[in-house]
Amino acid sequence: MMAAVALVLAAAIIITIASGMLAGHGSWPFRLGVLGGGLAIAGGLVILCVYRKSQNFKAVERCFEALCKVNPRDLHGDGTTGDVPPLPACGPWSGAVEQVRDTILELCRQVQDLEHASTAAQIRSRRVAAESDQIKWIFSELADPILAVDNYDELLLANHTAEDLFQIDANGAESRLLSELVQCQKLVDLLTSTSRRKTCGNRTDEIEITDEQGQSHWYRVTATKLLGSDETDNQEHDDQGDSSDAAAAGASGSGGAVAVLRDIGDQKALQKRNAEFVSAVSHEMKTPLAGIKAYVEMLVDGDAEDEETQEEFLDVINSQADRLQRLIDNMLNLARIEAGVVNVSKQPQSLNELLEEALHVVQPAAEAKQIELLGDLSPMYLGVLADRDMLLQAAINLLSNAIKYTAGGGRVALRSRMVDNQARFEVQDTGVGLSEEDAQRVFEKFYRVKKDKTMASGTGLGLPLAKHIVEDVHGGQLTVESALGEGSAFAAIIPSAGQLDA
C-alpha cells in the first residue's frame, strides 16, 4: 500500500517536473498551465490509486466476512466448502488471503473431525454404560445365586439371590474375604480351589446349604475359572493354534472363579419320594406275598387238619393274591395313564351296579377294622359311559382309602345321586380328615400325609390313580372336602351316558 502511494507520488512529481521543464520554454501562464495540468494528472492518479486500494480493501473485507461465516458443519466430508462463497480477487493480497482461507478451512475440518469423533465417543460410551447397566441388572436379577471371587479369594460379585441366600451385605461388609462372608465351607473350598486351578473348565458339586431359618437347600454348584483378559485373548488366539500353547497360557493364570448355584431341591425331593415309593411298594407287595407263602407252607405241611381250616387258609391265599393284583393294577394303570398308552373301552354302565361291586370288594377290610360300611345308592338307574374296570378301581381306591384312615368303630358311607343330569358318587368317612395343605396335595403321586403314615400302609398311588381315572379317562371331576379330625368326603362326578352321546 505504502509502496503504491509512493509510486503514485513519484509519478506525480515526475509529471510535475517534466511539465515544469516543458514549461521552461513558454510564458509563465503557459508554464503554470502545464504545471497545473501535471498536478491535476498526478492528483487524478493518486485519487485513482486510493480508490482502487479502497476497492481492494473492501474485497479483502468481504473475503474475511465470508470466511468468518464459514461454519465447520457446512464443510463437506471431502474438504470442499459448502456455502463458503468463492473469494473475490483482491489484488496483491489474494495469495495471503487464500492462505488464510485455507488455514481456516483446514482448522474447520479438524474441528469437524474432532466433533465427529467426540460424538461417536459419546454414543459409544453411552451405549457401553447402558449395556453395562443392563448386564448388571440382568445379573442381579438372575434367579440362580451367583458368586464370583478374585484371585485373592475376595468376593467380586454376588447377585441378589446369592446375597439373600448367604446374608451378604454387599456394601456394609468389612471384609470381602469369601470365607468370612459365606459360612458354607464346601462352597468356599470349591470356589477357591477352582480359582487356583491351572487349567480352565468347570467343576460341579452338589452342596447342601442351610439358610438362616435353619432350612436346608440342595444346590448343584458349577464353578468356572475366570481368566484374565490377556489370557482370554491368548486363549482365543490359541484356539486356532497349538493346543500346548493354550495350556501354557492357562498355566500363567492369575485366577478368580465364578460359581452358579442351581436349586435342585425339587430333584432331591423327587429322588427321596421315589426311594420312599420303592420302599413302600416293596413293603406293600411283600405283605400279601407273606400271607400267601405262609398259608401255602402250612397247607403243604399239613398243619390244617380239618376241612374248615383248609378252606380258611385258601380264602386268605385268595384274598391276598387279589390284594397283590390290585396293587400291581394300580401301579400299571397309573403308569399307563401317565404315559398316555392306556386302552380305554367305555361302555354304557350302571353306576350303581359298579358301586355295589366296589362295596363288596372292600367289605372284608371294613369288617376287619369294625368300620360300618354304608351303601346309600340312588334308586334311579344312573347310566354312565365308563371303562368298567377302571371306574371300579377308582371307587375301590376311594373306599379303601376311607377305611384305611378311619379308626375302628367309625363309618364309611358310599352315596350315589343324579345331580344336574350328571351321575355323582361320594365316599364320606368319619376318619382323621385332612389339613388344608394335605387336601391340596393328596392327589399327588406318592404323596402321603406325614402324621397318618403310621396309621396305615400305602403307596400314595390310590388317590392319584382315582383322580386320573375320573378326570382324564372319563372327563369327570374328583374333589375332596375335609377338615382335620372331622373326616373327609371325596366326590366324583361322571358325565352320564346320554350326555356324552348327545
Binding site: H283, K293, A294, E297, M298, D303, T309, V316, T454, M455
Partner: protein
C-alpha cells in the same frame, strides 16, 4: 408250664398264620394289633418272647422295643422281628443296640419261625437253669 408268646402285627392274616403255627407247636400265644396294644399286654403279663412287626400304626416295632429296653422288667425280654423291611434292619448296630435276637424277613416261613422260637426259648431255658 406253657411258654407264652406275644405276637404283634397289624396284618390280621400274618398274625393268624403265626398264631396258628405256634399254637400247634404247643405255645400259649397272645396277639396284638399294634405296638401300643402289645405294650399294654406286656404290662399286664410279661411273655417269654415277643415277635413283632416293624411298621405298625400308633407305636411301631422299633419304638416298642426301645420302650421295652427302658424298663428293668422287660430289658431282657427276647424279641424276634418279623418284617417286610428286612434290608433296613440288616444294619447290625440297630439289632444289636435293641437286643433283637433275630430278624425274620417277610415273606416268611412259619416253619422257620417256629424253629427260631424253639431255639430261643430252649437256650433261654438252658441258661436259666
Amino acid at each position: 408250664m406253657l411258654k407264652r408268646i406275644l405276637l404283634c402285627d397289624d396284618e390280621v392274616h400274618i398274625l393268624r398264620a403265626a398264631e396258628f403255627k405256634l399254637k400247634r407247636a404247643g405255645y400259649d400265644v397272645q396277639t396284638a394289633g399294634d405296638g401300643q396294644e402289645a405294650w399294654e399286654a406286656i404290662e399286664v403279663q410279661k411273655p417269654d418272647i415277643l415277635i413283632t412287626d416293624c411298621q405298625m400304626p400308633r407305636l411301631d416295632g422299633i419304638g416298642l422295643v426301645r420302650r421295652l429296653r427302658e424298663h428293668a422288667e422287660t430289658r431282657d425280654l427276647p424279641v424276634l422281628m418279623l418284617t417286610a423291611k428286612g434290608f433296613e434292619l440288616s444294619h447290625e448296630d440297630l439289632t444289636e443296640e435293641l437286643g433283637i435276637v433275630a430278624v425274620i424277613a417277610k415273606p416268611f416261613s412259619p416253619r422257620e419261625l417256629r424253629q427260631r422260637v424253639d431255639a430261643v426259648l430252649q437256650t433261654d431255658e438252658a441258661t436259666s437253669r
